[in-house]
């Protein structure tokens, strides 16, 4: 009975000791894990992980090395000779071979306890630390060995348990390395993004400047063209007034053609100036009652609808945030078009409406006029693009281009739908959020 009791006592003691050993291993591993986040510099992290592993296993020497770019040599991060002398030239290449090579090759953790009588001893350079036993645990990133942690000279030799422990520390070291690489990549990407942003900013500034120059040019040129145009108009008028008696019908007709074209040119210049202004003006943003603005625009155009069977239905419109006079111009231009293109229809119907829709306010002007072919919808908002012949409808084709410019400046968008002979609907949307461009 005594033997059984002694036996049990021994088993209990062993279990307790084992439990304590496990606890030690556990906390050592946890501490090693913490180094991953504590140390941005990998050699520092690796050193701490190595020290922990060395102490836990009882080894007295070792090192951590990483594979070079070509994958055939080791780059030693640090070396712990454990009190013994090592006179190997540190600049000597350290090829992947021998037992270390096996750790890399498999990859797996390997160890040799009778190093002095092993075949590996032949591969050791002169002056190397005397190795009694040695263990290699590969650092695996993405399933491939990218480095190795070696520990050596444990009194009594390494065990399988040591191999398991070293493997765990090797994994933690590999994690630290992988994290390090990720952070490096991130820093590089950020620098790249910064550089691209700076370039983008520069390009944007260049484009803005070019745009400003172009607009200033259009403005100046159009302006200066008016002076000689006034002379053409004025002097041809004087010619007509004072020499009408001396001119026959043909002569008068020729002169009228000159005057007509001078007027057209004047209109074109006015349109260019208006178009240029629409882009250059400073915006003063405020709450705008769109329904009354549309109504006011219609009043301005009242005279052009005299004698026609024309009904304009302005539905309730949500108020918008924008520049009052610019938005007034938008309504005027859209209504001018609707009124103009419904002229051939005996009963003209124009409808104005608007509603809030998903972050924007969408307004429209719909008419039952001559409409347009959707094939040409891309040209609709182009400057000086016309879809009708000059003898069908007057105008230079700038109205919708100005609308587009103004709405774009407000951060909105324009589009249209139409069917030949059935009518057209022009839509414009304004953003409801505070951010605006312009």
């Amino acid at each position: 009975m005594n033997d059984a009791a002694t036996d049990n006592e021994a088993k209990l003691k062993e279990a307790l000791a084992e439990s304590q050993r496990r606890e030690l291993e556990f906390s050592a591993l946890l501490e090693a894990s913490r180094t991953i986040l504590e140390y941005r510099d990998f050699p520092q992290a690796a050193r701490r992980i190595f020290d922990s592993c060395k102490n836990l296993t009882g080894a007295t020497a070792g090192y951590v090395a990483l594979l070079n770019a070509d994958g055939d040599e080791n780059l030693v991060l640090f070396l712990d000779a454990g009190g013994r002398t090592c006179t190997v030239d540190p600049s000597l290449p350290m090829p992947v071979r021998g037992l270390r090579g096996e750790a890399y090759g498999a990859p797996k953790t390997v160890y040799e306890n009778s190093f002095m009588s092993s075949p590996w001893i032949k591969l050791m350079p002169g002056g190397h630390v005397r190795l009694d036993n040695v263990l290699f645990a590969p650092l695996l990133v993405g399933g491939k060995a990218v480095g190795v942690m070696g520990i050596a000279n444990k009194p009594g030799g390494f065990t399988e348990r040591d191999a398991h422990i070293a493997t765990a520390f090797g994994d933690i070291a590999a994690l630290a390395l992988s994290n390090n690489w990720t952070l490096d990549e991130l820093a590089k990407s950020e620098a790249e993004v910064k550089k691209l942003n700076t370039e983008l900013g520069r390009h944007t500034a260049e484009i803005e400047e070019a745009n400003n120059e172009l607009e200033a040019f259009a403005y100046t040129v159009s302006h200066d063209l008016r002076v000689p145009l006034r002379a053409i108009d004025g002097f041809s008028q004087n010619l007509l007034d004072e020499y009408a008696g001396k001119l026959d019908e043909e002569g008068k007709r020729l002169l009228h053609v000159v005057r007509d074209n001078a007027h057209k040119m004047g209109q074109l210049i006015s349109d260019i100036l208006a178009f240029s202004r629409a882009g250059r003006q400073e915006m003063s943003v405020a709450e705008v009652d769109m329904k009354s603005l549309a109504g006011a625009a219609l009043d301005v155009l009242q005279q052009t609808t005299v004698g026609r069977d024309l009904t304009v239905d302005i539905k309730p419109l949500p108020s918008a945030r924008g520049d009052f006079s610019m938005l007034q111009q938008v309504w005027i231009n859209l209504l001018v078009n609707a009124i103009k293109f419904t002229r051939p229809k005996p009963a003209a119907r124009i409808e104005v409406g608007g509603a809030a829709e998903e972050g924007e306010l969408v307004y429209y002007v719909k008419d039952n006029g001559v409409g347009f072919n959707m094939q040409y919808v891309d040209k609709l908002f182009g400057a000086f693009q016309r879809l009708h012949r000059a003898d069908e409808f007057e105008g230079t084709g700038i109205g919708l281009a100005i609308v587009k410019r103004i709405i774009t400046k407000h951060g909105g968008r324009v589009w249209a739908e139409g069917k030949p002979n059935e009518g057209a609907t022009i839509y414009f949307a304004l953003p409801t959020k505070e951010e605006k461009h312009g």
């Binding site: 008016r226 002076v227 145009l229 006034r230 004025g234």
Partner: protein
């Protein structure tokens, strides 16, 4: 010669001969151009207004009823003429109407700051231009009550 200069009612300061001719014709049509003097640059305008140079025989106090002034002038530009005319006690009462191609906001603001009486942008169409000039002439010569 002497007394025509003394009796100038309208001083037209305009460097473009076409614009000048059109303005004069419009005024003539309405019989307002009898006592009109046309000068072609800012320096000559100042000589006339302040009775210096070739106009030194003039009496400064006996100024025109209105000055029609273009801003774009050679030698001395219109804004400077306006500044000088409105800056002198003897001449600041003379009505100055800027009649110019420019529509620049800064020109408008600056002119009013200097005391311009009226700022008109020249229309492109002759009809409109002639109408405005005639109305100006009519207003400043016949309707408006001069200081004395």
């Amino acid at each position: 010669m002497d007394d025509t200069v003394q009796e100038v009612e309208i001083l037209l300061v305009e460097d473009n001969p076409n614009d000048a001719e059109l303005a004069i014709r419009a005024l003539k049509k309405n019989k307002l151009a009898n006592k009109l003097l046309w000068v072609k640059d800012g320096a000559e305008a100042l000589d006339f207004i302040f009775a210096t140079g070739s106009y030194s025989h003039r009496d400064v106090e006996n100024g025109p009823k209105v000055i029609l002034l273009d801003l774009r002038l050679p030698k001395v530009d219109g804004m400077e003429v306006l500044r000088r005319a409105k800056g002198d006690e003897r001449t600041k009462a003379i009505p100055v109407v800027v009649l110019t191609s420019s529509r620049e906001d800064r020109d408008v603001v600056e002119s009013y700051k200097l005391g311009v009486n009226s700022f008109i942008s020249k229309p492109v169409e002759f009809e409109a231009f002639a109408k405005i000039v005639a109305e100006l002439g009519f207003y400043w010569l016949l309707v408006n009550q001069p200081p004395v």
